[in-house]
């Protein structure tokens, strides 16, 4: 499912082994340098030295927020405790994202090795992978990989004779997007509801079972071994000033080449969409690309030449997120896109804090009214004000970023909102109540085929005279268009008949 490897713009670090080896045979991974970095670290570096390498490399968390990884490990290493944990966040809940799944299915050892290195650095002998239940193949391959690594003495007690112990266990998600948030994830691993708790205290101080815990994303871990083996300077030579290395993106939506790509930070959106992605499907017009999933926003034509990195995306009103990129064309209604994301959030909100539990529901209701053609101008102000307050007061990252799609679409596609509210028009032809099925009098022969098939009797007319559809009754089921042999019925933005 990955895009052709020979596209020159790509540089595979996290995905270096995916598709190149049999993940169920550890020997093949070892041939491609698996556990070399672990060996090197155990033999040549103290924990602090290894942390310094990471800090030097400039690696930032690939799960979404982009916190400097080396610094994260350092804080955890400085916390004093008799027991610490390394956790891999494999809950990949962003719709449209499948980077982590591919790494876990294609190169599980890269993650296991990195977790062991992390354990060594922070002083943890236990690792946990929190993986969503919707990834059964990844779970299977991880189990095989862990057991093979244990057999080969690369995990477990006294790894490579170094005296360092590290064992890894799997924990399962159960269908809750919010469990991708690190504190919610931790509570889920403790057998509880996945409700986030306030930070501070951060997991590095008090996490799983109240012990210092380092949580990193799958893709972050996949970058560790190459950094150790090739050196931090190599890694920091790739990318932009503040965003080093590469990022895996999942291209989806109205684009010709759907799949995973890995490009250096700083690659422009234009290159990604047109050169690597093959351009817009059916040659339609590019409208926007949603990055960062439900926590992100959309980038538009004016951002096409923006180099993609953490800061630039935030400045553009979006965020990197896990790397999902959903491409949209002229037939996508941006108000509906915002509504879709809010619907998702409303279904996934844990319900703990007021702004997210009730606020997001109200945001969704306003957007629903707008797409139904019942919006008023005041609704647009309400959307903005409520979004701001939700962002300002929500307890966790899910709530704090949930209004981003609203902000972003309001900012970049205000015209569409205006049209929905004032003109009751949906230019993309998506919002059912805002477009109309219209019979062209010139073409209609009055055969009444449409009238007979209409399930709600919205069509009137006499035999052999042009018929008429009452838009107030019509439910836009499309039956009439399918039945008309004369191409006399079309979808219009206005209820008027087109001459």
């Amino acid at each position: 499912m990955e895009t052709p490897v020979n596209k020159p713009k790509q540089l595979r670090i996290a995905l270096r082994n995916c598709g190149m080896l049999d993940p169920e045979n550890i020997a093949e991974s070892i041939v491609r340098d698996a556990y070399q970095a672990l060996g090197k670290v155990l033999k040549e570096y103290s924990p602090q030295e290894c942390i310094n390498i990471l800090k030097q490399s400039g690696l930032r968390g690939r799960g979404g927020a982009g916190f400097p990884t080396g610094l994260k490990w350092e804080i955890a290493s400085k916390s004093k405790s008799d027991q610490k944990y390394v956790v891999c966040n494999a809950d990949e809940g962003d719709p449209g994202a499948f980077m982590d799944r591919s790494i876990l299915e294609g190169d599980p050892h890269s993650v296991l090795e990195a977790m062991a290195i992390c354990g060594y650095c922070i002083g943890a002998d236990k690792g946990l992978i929190y993986i969503r239940a919707e990834y059964p193949l990844a779970i299977k391959r991880l189990k095989i990989a862990i057991s093979q690594a244990m057999e080969w003495g690369l995990l477990g007690k006294n790894i490579l004779g170094s005296g360092f112990n590290f064992e890894i266990k799997l924990c399962y998600g159960a269908g809750a997007f919010v469990c991708g948030e690190e504190t919610a994830l931790i509570h889920s691993m403790e057998g509880k509801r996945g409700e986030p708790t306030n930070k501070p205290p951060f997991p590095a101080t008090s996490g799983f079972m109240k012990k210092p815990t380092n949580v990193n994303n799958v893709e972050t871990f996949a970058n560790i071994a190459p950094i150790i083996l090739k050196g931090p300077e190599w890694f920091s030579s790739i990318g932009t000033k503040n965003s080093k290395g590469t990022k895996v993106f999942a291209l989806a939506g109205k684009i010709n080449h759907v799949g995973l790509i890995e490009v250096p930070m700083g690659t422009s959106l234009r290159e990604i969409i047109y050169e690597i992605g093959g351009g817009i499907k059916e040659n339609k017009k590019f409208k926007a690309v949603q990055t960062g999933g439900p926590s992100g926003g959309c980038l538009t034509e004016k951002h096409l030449d923006t180099p993609i990195d953490y800061e630039n995306l935030i400045a553009a009103g979006s965020m990197m997120g896990s790397g999902g990129m959903i491409v949209m064309d002229e037939n996508d209604c941006m108000v509906s896109v915002a509504k879709f994301y809010l619907d998702f959030i409303v279904g996934e909100s844990c319900g703990k804090c007021t702004p997210c539990r009730i606020g997001n529901k109200r945001l969704y209701e306003i957007l629903e009214r707008i797409t139904q053609g019942k919006g008023v101008m005041k609704d647009l102000d309400k959307l903005k004000n409520l979004s701001y307050i939700i962002k300002d007061t929500a307890l966790c990252g899910l709530g704090q970023t949930s209004p981003n799609p609203v902000f972003s679409t309001l900012e970049n596609f205000y015209d569409e909102y205006y049209e929905h509210v004032v003109e009751k028009k949906c230019r993309a032809g998506h919002c059912k109540n805002l477009f109309h099925y219209v019979i062209n009098e010139e073409l209609c022969v009055g055969c009444a085929a449409c009238k007979r098939c209409c399930p709600v009797h919205a069509i009137t007319g006499e035999k052999r005279k042009p018929h008429y559809i009452d838009s107030n009754i019509c439910i836009r089921c499309n039956e009439c268009i399918e039945k008309c042999s004369f191409d006399a019925i079309s979808i219009q933005l206005e209820p008027k008949i087109l001459v």
Partner: protein, 592 residues
């Protein structure tokens, strides 16, 4: 201790490291509004999910607003608690809560005492800008508690009390998102769950989601029935708290006014549950000595420790969780029930009224008492010993409805013969009080000597589990005391494991004892109120001339005229009871 300097609303202050913004602000006279946060300082109980977001404040350098109740101060922190940005956020949060709340204020049981209502009023909310769908649920009622969780605001206080403080585990947050709510398992009725009716959830609920079953109308109906003689008994804790409902400071003893008010409401005889508490001591003290003597004589089936049994919430808890230990609590009924049993036999005969025509009402600080008086074993041919139990709050309502000017009432006395009581019975309201009362009598009966000092200071205190060794003229008595069901569980686990060396254990379900019961005036999280009530109880004891149960002349007369001996046959018939296995673990096998 490291001190941190910060400024709040331009006031500079220094506080200990680890202090939250909320507490730091209080030190400089700034009261940041809260809703889900609740701290009962004296009892080490704190609910701080940080989820309502009402207490948010602006912190320089922080991108979003910070919840003051859980954000700890940092050096040089600059906090602003009422900028326009903060006020706008707070108002919107409350508007959102109201938008998902029934507009029931006019008829809601919590009106006037509702934290959400107070905050809406305080913030001047006149319009709800964000109207929409409301989450609705099935109403649920039980003998003591009504759940109307359309009004739930997910503050999680009830869940915290039930699971962490009481370890009863009847409630949990269920579902996810907009429809999430706090409910029993499988959203069954509270009555079918392991709920003990201790009512602590009711006493901390900020809205009308959890309230008590209101029996005032039933009482009024009885009072209106000319064919009935309606009498009332009042628990000790009521007199120490009732005044709060009329604006008196917490800890004001209003015994005389309470009696006067009850008369004016229309009760024919106003009696004192304390009388029955003295009776309980006679029975339970005799039982204790009996079991102790058997134990000392080396009898193998001597059942020690003996546990007090006057708390129905605790009895429920025991029946649910320790059905294997049902032989160790005292078999004595609670004072409420002993009163009812005596009232409907001895007293009914005395005034020539038939049992069915005598209506016994009790005023209790407790919600479990509503359930207790309905237990089948406390009825004779279907007629209950105690017909209705109302809470201190309900009594205040009755007084107000009867147009009585409470504050200006004269002090009146209880009626006799069931109204005279000793100081020992009053202290039943405090944790440690029941066992202290029992010991005052047990000591003198066992040793034959008079106590030099009447107060047993070693039995008093506020720690959840306390123990004391008492010297009964050479015999050392090990006493254990627990209040709060999590502490009760710990002691009972020890008993079950055979590790307990207590001779007697007093257990009260509510932390603080009955003065903190589920039916008392709402404390809204101010634990100072509980301390004042506690002190009032000890003051009332000190003011009594007779302070030991066995010296109550009316009790002596009752045994002489009617009961015979403590733990004698008649006493066993009327004043003792049995317990039932209510554990949920019966699994019947279904054969396919």
């Amino acid at each position: 201790m490291e001190m941190i300097e910060l400024s709040i609303d331009n006031k500079v202050l220094r506080v200990k490291k680890g202090t939250t913004i909320l507490k730091a602000a209080r030190k400089v006279g700034i009261e940041i509004p809260t809703l889900c946060h609740m701290e009962l300082h004296n009892m080490n109980i704190e609910n701080k999910p940080g989820s309502c977001r009402v207490c948010v404040v602006e912190v320089d350098g922080r991108r979003n607003l910070a919840p003051a109740c859980i954000t700890e101060v940092t050096p040089g922190m600059v906090v602003n608690t009422h900028t326009v940005r903060v006020l706008n956020a707070r108002k919107t949060i409350v508007e959102l809560l109201i938008s998902d709340h029934p507009y029931d204020c006019l008829v809601c049981a919590k009106s006037g005492n509702c934290d959400l209502q107070s905050i809406a009023h305080k913030f001047g909310i006149r319009r709800v800008h964000f109207k929409g769908e409301k989450s609705t649920y099935r109403k649920d009622t039980s003998p003591s508690i009504i759940r109307d969780v359309d009004k739930c605001i997910m503050c999680r206080r009830c869940e915290m009390m039930c699971n962490e403080v009481q370890t009863v585990g009847a409630l949990s947050a269920v579902n996810r998102g907009f429809i999430s709510v706090v409910a029993p398992a499988f959203e069954m009725n509270l009555e079918q769950s392991s709920c003990t009716y201790c009512g602590q959830c009711v006493s901390v609920c900020p809205t009308g989601a959890l309230t008590e079953v209101d029996s005032t109308n039933k009482v009024l109906l009885a009072l209106m029935d000319k064919s009935k003689t309606v009498i009332v008994q009042t628990a000790p804790s009521v007199r120490a708290a009732l005044g709060e409902e009329f604006g008196l400071p917490a800890g004001t003893l209003v015994t005389g006014k309470m009696v006067a008010a009850l008369r004016r409401i229309g009760f024919k005889y106003v009696f004192d549950t304390d009388f029955a508490a003295d009776l309980t001591i006679m029975e339970e003290g005799t039982e204790l000595l009996g079991r102790l003597k058997a134990h000392l004589a080396g009898e193998s089936n001597a059942k020690l420790p003996i546990l007090t049994s006057c708390c129905p919430g605790w009895v429920n808890f025991m029946e649910h969780n320790f059905p294997d230990l049902l032989h160790i609590p005292s078999t004595a009924k609670s004072p409420q029930q002993m009163f009812g049993a005596i009232a409907k036999t001895y007293f009914a005969d005395l005034i020539g009224v038939k049992r069915q025509d005598l209506v016994v009402v009790s005023v209790m600080p407790c919600l479990a008492k509503k359930y207790e008086c309905q237990r089948d074993e406390f009825k004779v041919d279907g007629n209950p010993d105690v017909d209705f139990s109302i809470s201190t709050r309900e009594l205040a309502d009755l007084i107000k409805q009867s147009n009585i000017d409470f504050l200006n009432l004269p002090d009146e006395d209880f009626d006799t013969p069931l109204g005279e009581s000793t100081g020992a019975s009053v202290i039943f309201g405090n944790t440690g009080g029941v066992i202290e009362a029992a010991c005052r009598t047990a000591y003198e009966l066992y040793t034959g000597k008079k106590l030099d000092v009447i107060e047993f200071e070693s039995l008093r205190g506020k720690e959840g589990i306390r123990s004391a060794k008492l010297d009964f003229d050479g015999l050392t008595l090990n006493i254990g005391i627990a209040h709060g069901l999590s502490n009760a569980r710990k002691l009972l686990d020890d008993v079950r494991a055979g590790k307990s060396d207590y001779h007697a254990i007093e257990i009260m379900a509510c932390v603080g004892g009955c003065i903190a019961g589920g039916g008392q005036p709402y404390h809204h999280g101010d634990s100072k109120i509980l301390r004042q009530r506690r002190n009032a109880i000890y003051r009332e004891d000190k003011n009594k001339t007779i302070r030991k149960s066995h010296e109550n002349p009316y009790i002596i007369q009752l045994y002489k005229d009617f009961l015979g001996q403590p733990c004698g046959q008649k006493s066993h018939e009327l004043l003792h009871t049995v317990y039932y296995d209510k554990s949920r673990e019966e699994i019947t096998i279904h054969h396919d």
